[in-house]
Symmetry: C2
Subunit: 121 residues, 2 copies
């Protein structure tokens, strides 16, 4: 049972859009990711997804609107809703998701890291 | 789908040790609580519990040691482990827990708020 120091963990992350696992509880993972640039449109068929911005700002695009999320703000994207995360500048994001969640949802592409290959840091 | 601004939500919380629900996903709740003083010894038989300190510092006592958690740090307390949270000064804490979790675990006492009476803010 080790505490998780978010800033230290983020320093271990290289690259963007590649979530790393930092904790596990009740069948869910706590993940950290650096966002920069544009991610892909995707939806998670069975899983709601929680985004908490730890540093910087991100935008989550939806088909009918966009939501800006700044440091200290969170958003839950319900299952089945298409969304596309974006960050103009580097942002640090904490995610809370079921262990089965693929970060690109049902949209497999060059950014996709298979669930079984998502690393712990 | 509304974003959650943590600072605004904490301003709505009166009193200590009384978690309020701010979000729900995948059978889990996101809760916020203000901590100050000493909570009770308790354990959650079936649920792991996630603490993230948003402001200030807390200490989680265990029977054999204690862990200090400062702003930007997190701790997962596995199910079945007795613990007693404490905060010398007011601290803001974000919790992730299954919807069924009672905050005092199996130790019912005057601080206990029944699960069905935990409010959304």
């Amino acid at each position: 049972m080790q505490k998780i120091t978010l800033e230290e963990k983020f320093q271990l992350i290289e690259g963007y859009w590649s979530p790393k696992i930092v904790g596990e509880l009740n069948g869910q993972y706590i993940k950290l990711a650096k966002f920069k640039g544009k991610f892909v449109w995707h939806a998670h068929e069975h899983e709601d997804e929680f985004f908490q911005v730890i540093k910087g700002s991100i935008v989550i695009h939806f088909r009918d609107r966009r939501v800006c999320i700044d440091e200290g703000e969170c958003l839950i994207v319900p299952k089945g809703i298409e969304h596309k995360p974006e960050a103009a500048d580097e942002a640090y994001v904490l995610l809370f998701e079921p262990k089965t969640t693929a970060h690109t949802g049902s949209s497999e592409n060059k950014l996709t890291v298979p669930v079984e290959k998502q690393d712990w840091i």
